[in-house]
């Protein structure tokens, strides 16, 4: 293999690919990037088997072929090289990198060892990058941490008919972000730790396409495809826990509501149970919290104005759930829809109709 390529082009491409290479080094070949030259294109691929990235840049191919280089070393090398153009060449099982005034000879593993990677030819959903970025960001906090309910540790992406749902829940609260987009039916439970790498890719281009194939989810943005293996299993039917028509509704200024919650939460120290009680009366919400640690109990109370008309109503929540939920909204106001003190509560924002949160109250 022998190619000539612009320095900045290869630098950026290597940086993208290197993020998916295996850093622990359990399997040596996975610490490498696979470089394939063909048709005046260079394809760079790396994977740690959990996630993978494949990206393409143009170059001048003088001789077609494949080679591997250590991802870490390549990323460092190409970001520090000077000069406009670089030649890259395979020579006796080594990689020779030359720029205007430098020459490097790097170790290389046989490219045949690199795992077979198949990238789907067609994608079924296409939407703006920042939309999917937002969807994942706004729900992922609600995912579970309990390994015993492993499925809930992931974030569900579900494409059906005319929309895409991003969902996360830990069994106590649930976040759903809905995007209207032409799509075909598939669903994928993405491990939480794949999401940070994914976000980096989503910043690369304006649009992203996605599809689920063979228990992997593929994202394509520009010339780059990224994939993640999925959590196997069936995600519970989240739609049935989203309440409809809850009759007791209050609407509050989001900032004011959030700071009131944070204020009362100050009294909690290291309690396991952090309950906040909402007492609603005509256009007023009183939040009280009681710390139960030790013999002496401490109490906090904050009253804020809200939009509420109806019978006085009392309900309790885990304050952490409330703070995280209200904090995840961007709109100016939020509405809390309740029915019984023990039935699911829906949180929405008029300014942000895509986002729905459901929180299960605490029995107080």
């Amino acid at each position: 293999m022998k190619i000539r390529i612009g320095k900045e082009k290869i630098r950026d491409a290597v940086k993208i690919a290197a993020s998916a290479a295996d850093k622990r080094g359990a399997i040596p070949i996975l610490a490498n990037i696979l470089l394939e030259a063909e048709d005046n294109l260079l394809r760079l691929t790396a994977t740690n088997l959990e996630i993978g990235v494949s990206t393409v840049v143009d170059c001048t191919v003088e001789e077609e072929g494949k080679v591997t280089v250590n991802a870490n070393k390549a990323a460092k090398l190409f970001s520090s090289l000077t000069g406009e153009e670089i030649t890259l060449e395979r020579e006796d099982g080594r990689v020779i990198v030359k720029s205007a005034n430098s020459r490097f000879s790097l170790a290389s593993l046989p490219p045949e060892e690199f795992p077979e990677v198949e990238v789907p030819g067609s994608f079924s959903v296409r939407l703006p990058s920042d939309e999917i970025d937002k969807a994942l960001k706004k729900v992922s906090y609600a995912a579970g941490r309990d390994e015993a309910k492993y499925i809930l540790t992931g974030v569900l992406l579900r494409s059906f008919g005319d929309r895409l749902h991003a969902v996360a829940t830990d069994g106590h609260r649930l976040a759903l972000y809905e995007v209207f987009v032409e799509s075909e039916g598939w669903s994928a439970i993405i491990p939480k730790k794949s999401l940070s790498e994914l976000k980096r890719l989503l910043r690369e281009g304006d649009e992203v396409e996605l599809v689920e194939r063979h228990n992997k989810i593929y994202f394509r943005s520009g010339d780059t495809v990224m994939w993640s293996s999925l959590i196997e299993g069936e995600y519970p039917d989240y739609t049935k826990v989203i309440p409809e028509g809850n009759s007791k509704v209050f609407t509050a200024d989001r900032d004011e509501f959030l700071s009131a919650l944070k204020e009362v939460s100050v009294i909690f120290d290291k309690e396991e149970v952090r309950a906040v009680i909402f007492d609603l009366s005509e256009n007023s919400l009183r939040l009280t919290a009681k710390s139960l640690e030790g013999e002496t109990s401490e109490e906090a109370e904050v009253v804020i104005p809200v939009d509420y008309s109806g019978e006085p109503f009392r309900i309790g929540f885990n304050i952490v759930h409330m703070i995280e939920s209200i904090g995840s909204f961007d709109g100016e106001s939020v509405s809390v829809h309740m029915e019984e003190p023990t039935s699911p509560v829906l949180i929405t924002s008029q300014e942000e109709p895509q986002l729905k949160n459901v929180i299960m109250p605490m029995k107080v």
Binding site: T169, H172, P236, D237, K240, V273, A275, N318, K363
Partner: protein, 469 residues
């Protein structure tokens, strides 16, 4: 209310030592009271447990005196009242399946009609019939005990089937102690203890088999105690079976023991010769096995103590005759059951195993290698474990001193006598040791039971299956 409450407190103080009152009831608060029940809040779960164990009757008396009648007393620990509880989204509800009703688990083949009555089981049979005719009124609870395979389960299920046939609407539930325990554990794990209680307390007739296994299972005993009380108070019938009388069930709490003895205790003895012959004849008829009186009498002579084996022998005989194409004759019987009589064989097996099991159980419970027990090592820990093992070999195994000595590689059997005496003395003084001994004894008995079950040959298994089903 205030007046009655203060008179209740006064009453309570009167009945208790001042220190006890202060420690246990000092923080008592009234949560609610109505015509039927009173709910009290206590400091924490430990205190609640303590009151349930030691002071419940005192509490009830004080309530009765202050309120003029008996009220149901509910205790709630403070943490149970105040702690807010996070509710769950019903994401997995479908899969968990809704509350299954308790199955009656009655096997229709067990009836009074096909129970053969003889001198050995006459009393138990009469008691069972009386209970079946008048559930909850005749004898409550009815406690049937006797050896393996003598028809305890048959009688118990016959009660259930009889009641069901007369009043199909009655809720009759048959369960083994093991199932009861497993359901309890599941309920505790899944936080469904209240629905567990609900299920068991809405039964009209509760039949529990092999209650001896409740020995040593503290939590099960507590739960069973409450279930029992609830049923008993509501006039519902409880029937229990065991392989030994209540007083011989190790580590059974006193209050449960006394409840078991409230009603009637009926034992079943091994059948006499005539009964054995009658049983064999009926079994031959049911199974359609043609067999002469001589053969039946011979079988009845050889197998003495266990009806399941008796019936099994007949099936085994038929199996062998069919397989080998031979007629059922006395010769065939002798071939199959010759030499050692199966009863003795089994007993001998238990013996052999016992010594080994005793050593293994003691070794694993006290953390001492089994080889060390047989060795001359005199380290304190080892020597103690060895003495315990010798004691159990005598008490549980019933071995002669000389045999025990030989098994532990000791020449002098007085060492064993000394060990047994020493442990006896210690258990009288040291409660924790005596409960350890009880626990070990239970474990050994269970292990012996398990191993004798395992030893059954394939033919025996085949026989057992066809007898039970």
């Amino acid at each position: 209310m205030d007046k009655r409450w203060s008179s209740f407190i006064k009453n309570l103080k009167k009945r208790l030592k001042p220190t006890t009152y202060k420690v246990v009831f000092g923080t008592l608060e009234l949560l609610s009271a109505d015509e039927e029940s009173i709910t009290l809040q206590v400091k924490d779960k430990t205190v609640k447990d303590l009151i349930l164990k030691l002071h419940l009757s005192t509490l009830k008396e004080a309530v009765k005196e202050a309120f003029g009648k008996e009220l149901k007393v509910e205790l709630v620990a403070r943490e149970e009242v105040e702690k807010p509880k996070q509710l769950e989204l019903e994401l997995f509800k479908e899969k968990e399946r809704e509350e299954e009703e308790l199955q009656s688990n009655l096997n229709p083949k067990y009836t009074f009609e096909n129970f053969i009555v003889g001198a050995s089981n006459q009393f138990a049979h009469a008691a069972a019939r009386a209970v079946a005719e008048n559930p909850g009124k005749a004898y409550n609870p009815l406690f049937i005990y006797g050896g393996v395979g003598l028809g305890k389960t048959h009688l118990m299920q016959a009660i259930g089937n009889y009641i069901k046939s007369k009043e199909p609407g009655k809720k009759v539930v048959y369960t083994t102690t093991e199932t009861f325990m497993n359901q309890l554990i599941e309920a505790l794990k899944g936080d469904k203890i209240s629905s567990f209680r609900e299920k068991y307390r809405n039964i009209d007739v509760l039949l529990i088999d092999d209650i001896q296994f409740i020995g040593g299972k503290e939590r099960t005993q507590i739960e069973f105690f409450h279930t029992f009380n609830a049923l008993y108070d509501a006039g519902k019938q409880v029937v229990l079976t065991s392989d030994r009388p209540p007083k011989d069930i190790p580590t059974l709490t006193e209050r449960l023991r006394s409840r078991f003895e409230w009603g009637l205790i009926a034992d079943i003895q091994p059948p006499d010769f005539e009964t054995r012959v009658a049983i064999l004849k009926r079994k031959a008829e049911v199974e359609g096995i043609e067999v002469s009186d001589k053969v039946i009498k011979l079988l009845a002579t050889i197998i003495k103590s266990n009806i399941r084996q008796l019936e099994g022998a007949l099936i085994k005989l038929k199996a062998k005759a069919t397989l080998e194409g031979r007629p059922i004759t006395e010769k065939l019987v002798r071939e199959l059951f010759s030499g050692e009589q199966p009863e003795e064989k089994r007993k001998r097996r238990i013996r052999e195993i016992s010594m080994k099991i005793i050593k293994e159980t003691v070794g694993s419970e006290l953390g001492v290698d089994v080889e060390l027990l047989d060795s001359p090592v005199r380290k304190k820990r080892v020597a103690f474990a060895r003495q315990v093992a010798m004691f159990l070999a005598k008490k549980v195994g019933g071995y002669p001193y000389t045999q025990i000595a030989a098994s532990f590689n000791r020449d002098d059997h007085t060492t064993v006598i000394h060990a047994v005496r020493k442990i006896e003395e210690l258990t009288e003084k040291d409660e924790s040791l005596s409960s350890l001994i009880e626990k070990l004894e239970l474990k050994i008995r269970e292990a012996v039971e398990r191993s004798t079950e395992v030893i059954h040959s394939d033919v025996d298994n085949y026989v057992d299956n066809s007898v039970d089903n």
